[in-house]
């Protein structure tokens, strides 16, 4: 059974699922598998594993930084697949690969989708592939049982929200603000997000909806994801790592932050 669908099917009515983004190979190549397993232990329901790209034009400074570090660390697509394979030895947490199209294209779309499915990847989020361009990978993803998750933003029309819903599997990713990725003032985000999620709910009926961009605390998550099925955190995790790495306790600091995101203090 599809692992993404499984977690949404088993979600308790009031529960908000937590999806966590981490750049593969950041802060070092060796930690990524441990971080994923630790995230799961501390409340993560879904993992978005970032495939670093040299020119991440939809990302703010935080993820630009983690991508640069990972590339300098020598991350490759095959190393990312090895990481997923390793996680799968002990975990069934849904794993979504997230990144830009060019490294995927360079690897070869057929080869990429086959390999991803083989190692246990469940879905793909590719921010620079809007619906009108998803033909570049849609068929191959489908054949290999990989979900394609499209994004919608506050400036997405009702019509396009419906289109994103029809063309997505797993869930639809709601970008809470128009802008690049990065932690923001949670109050600012939650003020405008309610009306957006209301519109999302009216137009996206086939898939669950997850909200991301700008969440950095349990309270942010509760406010912003009030009417969504869950929330996504990325930049705040990278910022936390950046703050503590390579001190001896950096992983435990990170994990207690993760735990607090899902469960509060």
């Amino acid at each position: 059974m599809n692992r993404i669908q499984h977690v949404f099917d088993n979600k308790k009515p009031d529960e908000k699922l937590m999806s966590l983004f981490i750049t593969a190979g950041y802060p070092d190549l060796e930690s990524t598998v441990d971080l994923i397993l630790g995230f799961e232990k501390n409340g993560a329901d879904i993992i978005e594993l970032g495939m670093p790209f040299s020119d991440p034009l939809a990302d703010g400074p935080t993820i630009q930084y983690s991508s640069d570090v990972a590339i300098k660390n020598g991350i490759t697509m095959n190393k990312i697949f090895e990481m997923v394979e390793k996680v799968r030895e002990s975990s069934e947490i849904p794993i979504i690969l997230m990144g830009y199209m060019n490294p995927v294209l360079r690897y070869g779309v057929n080869r990429f989708t086959r390999k991803a499915a083989e190692v246990g990847v469940d879905g793909l989020i590719i921010p620079d592939i809007p619906i009108e361009e998803d033909g570049i990978i849609k068929k191959q993803a489908e054949e290999n049982g990989l979900d394609i998750i499209h994004l919608v933003a506050p400036n997405t029309s009702d019509e396009r929200m419906k289109l994103a819903d029809e063309n997505s599997q797993g869930f639809v990713y709601c970008v809470s603000v128009t802008g690049v990725t990065g932690a923001r003032d949670g109050d600012e985000v939650s003020k405008s997000v309610d009306r957006f999620i209301e519109r999302v709910r009216a137009n996206i009926t086939l898939n669950p909806v997850m909200v991301g961009f700008g969440i950095r605390s349990h309270q942010d998550a509760q406010n912003i994801a009030l009417n969504a099925d869950g929330f996504i955190v990325g930049s705040a995790l990278i910022d936390t790592i950046k703050q503590h790495y390579p001190k001896e306790n950096w992983q435990s600091e990170l994990m207690s932050f993760v735990h607090s995101l899902k469960f509060g203090k």
Binding site: D55, N102, R106, E132, R160, G179
Partner: protein, 406 residues
Amino acid sequence: MSTQTKTKTYNYPDDRGYYGQFGGKFVPEILIPAIQELEAEFNKAKNDPVFNEELAGLLDEYVGRPTKLTYANRLTEHYGKAKIYLKREDLCHTGAHKINNAIGQVLLARRMGKKRIIAETGAGQHGVATATACAKFGLDCIVYMGEEDMVRQKLNVDRMRLMGAEVRSVTSGSRTLKDATNEAIRDWVTNVDTTFYIIGSVVGPHPYPMMVRHFHEVIGNEAKQQIHKVESRNPDYLLACVGGGSNAIGFFYPFIDDESVDIIGIEAAGFGVDSGKTAATMTKGTPGILHGSLSYLLQSDEGQIELAHSISAGLDYPGVGPEHAHLKDLGRVKYHAVTDEEAMNAVKLLSETEGIIPALETAHAFAWLEKLMPETSEDEIVMINLSGRGDKDMGTISEYIREENN
């Protein structure tokens, strides 16, 4: 006109913004409404007599069009082969062809009610052109420029600031045009409701490559009329430099269906195409997606974009417009590359023979004459797009000559 073969088969992009397998709109969902709105408005504007009349008026009175076609008699004598004509885009207001597009897009921005303009720039010519057009129309202007380019092209930074633009230094990545483009796109993603992004070359998501080509077609259209007036026929060769490829597309496009014209685009080889320090995207690149379109790219086996190198900031870009990629694959345009050194020699030759100091970008096209001219004959005609003047490059040129003499 009788020698021309008119086939009229070239009709790109298609409805999806593709030039064969290249092009498209590979942008985040947030930008889709903006590029859809832009495409609709551009299609209306280009068929609107009022818009076209205003644009034509500005090109005439403000930009100084039509630019001249100059017969380069001493350069012609130097090679002793085909006649060489120069299309003088260096005589445009601000010193390069870039103003054609900046004025066109600013008019479009005004029509769409956008008051905040952003742009990226490499050599600074597009930044200057955009700052100029914004000053003329009283619009806010923010230009993203790589930190390294700001040093190489300090004069242009000062020019932009003098005209009221804010120049934002980009310190990420290679600190050149590629990274300035990333930052401009991030700004656009964040301020999409209020902001119009004026892309400076035939790159980016559809409709940009098509729109920028449209605003530069005036170069080729004028050149065609002018050469017919003096020679009563098409040239045998067209030559232009290619970074992103805007001056080249504007110059080439009206001749694409004229099969008797050999069309040649010259890229920057930097230290040499196999030196690892090059910007020869079409010679060394492979297909990939950057800045919203699928085209040839300099990239690693892992699909990471590689740093380009050229002495010319305007050609220092690891991508190229998707239409050039298609024209290469069609075989309609032949692309070659020349080194920094060859370009610098061309700067000296044109300066000494014609009293014209070309921009370093433009000099790459002239450098190819060394290879091309021996193959031509005296009854043939070569027409070169002199896309910009070299005033902005005097620092780089002087330093190069000093080092050479040491």
